[in-house]
Symmetry: C2
Subunit: 212 residues, 2 copies
DNA sequence: TAGATTGTTAATCGATTAACAATC
DNA sequence: TAGATTGTTAATCGATTAACAATC
């Protein structure tokens, strides 16, 4: 149903569509028009119709979109029904936050394990997930291949850890370190960055600009 | 020196320029040409020159850019020398990660305090920063006005907490909750979101697409 | 049927890239 | 001086918005 190459701009809006549609669905809303959704989300109706039409025809003239159906279609497009597996590298504060608070399951992921060198953590569980020593990664991943690795290790070991993950065959790295990973050396592994510092500095730009 | 309205696309690249220039500076590199920097960053030389020219003339024909100077200019543009103050709302795992691991100072911020309802935390310090009860926020902020609030509270209290922050006069909210804040009701407060879920789903789209 | 709303084509707007005169 | 490299103008490319025929 996908029509040729989808633009990155469209792709980055999909999770937001999902979030809004999920909210509407939970609120019991059955149908919505592109213009009502646009009002909700601060977009134009035109853009929403254009975006969705990249993937298929999900609406109906004179009616709009069925919220549950559209939510499901977008979930599919986002790969939420593929039940990809994740491992977490680094069970410090941030890794612990993901382990204990992030609802991987809700987004269609299975969280398999975490790895940390801290002897006080190895062998214990956090958020119901077992922590292993990185030395046991090869063995663990042989038995439980991971699609994704979440990288929450200290910056200085970010690159080697990313390379190890790539060598073990993960398909994507969710990078929380403030370090730029050398994607060229990561053999086709997709990298998605959450750069706290970049985000904070962007915000700072805007508030500084407002003041001057 | 700023020439009219700067496009959002340019602004979002500035922190990345800063990161790279800081790396070069630490590595002792004195000068760099737009094409060398472009090679480093995976951009075009043209784009770099175009971007920088929005803010001034920082280079020199036949020479390129002085790394230290350019790094400093970008730091200025990003407001890193304004020493804005920050408070953290919510000292759970994520708040704790910010308190203990995020180098606010390095980016020109002063972290003033954190707030949490947990009686086991109130009155203690994390990462050298004191934790207060949210009931004491009004009093604290009177004495120590905050420019920025980092929102790391549970999703269900995200909106009311954001509104309180806005009422107390913060200029920006750094939103880590997976909740969309009602910016219209936040009276000019700038919001910058770190949506973990959106990021993970975007990554999932790409690895799912690769597989199909 | 009449009104509403889609999906799509065309028009506009914005962002990136290319080219080059200016000059260090 | 000759070579390198900037800042800027023009050309291209991509993304958003507007318009409208199709149709539920």
């Amino acid at each position: 149903m996908r029509k040729g190459k989808i633009s990155p701009a469209v792709i980055r809006r999909l999770p937001r569509y999902y979030r809004h549609l999920d909210g509407l669905f939970s609120a019991g809303v059955v149908r919505i028009s592109s213009s009502a959704l646009a009002g909700n989300m601060g977009l134009t109706a035109s853009q929403i119709r254009q975006d969705l039409s990249c993937f298929g025809e999900f609406g109906q003239q004179g009616y709009g979109y069925n919220v549950e159906r559209l939510r499901g279609e977008i979930a599919d497009i986002l790969g939420m029904n593929r039940h990809h597996t994740v491992v977490i590298l680094g069970a410090g504060n941030l890794g612990k936050a993901l382990l204990e608070n992030f609802p991987f399951q809700q987004y269609g992921f299975r969280l398999e394990a975490a790895f940390d060198i801290d002897p006080a953590l190895v062998g214990t569980k956090l958020g119901g997930v077992r922590i292993y020593h990185p030395d046991d990664m090869a063995e663990f991943l042989r038995g439980h291949p991971a699609d994704l690795g979440a990288l929450t290790v200290p910056g200085r070991i970010a690159v080697p850890t990313a390379k190890r993950l790539a060598a073990f065959g993960v398909k994507g790295i969710w990078n929380f370190t403030n370090v730029e990973l050398p994607e060229a050396e990561l053999a086709g592994v997709r990298v998605e960055n959450i750069h706290f510092a970049d985000s904070l500095l962007t915000l700072n730009y805007f508030i500084s600009e407002d003041q001057s």
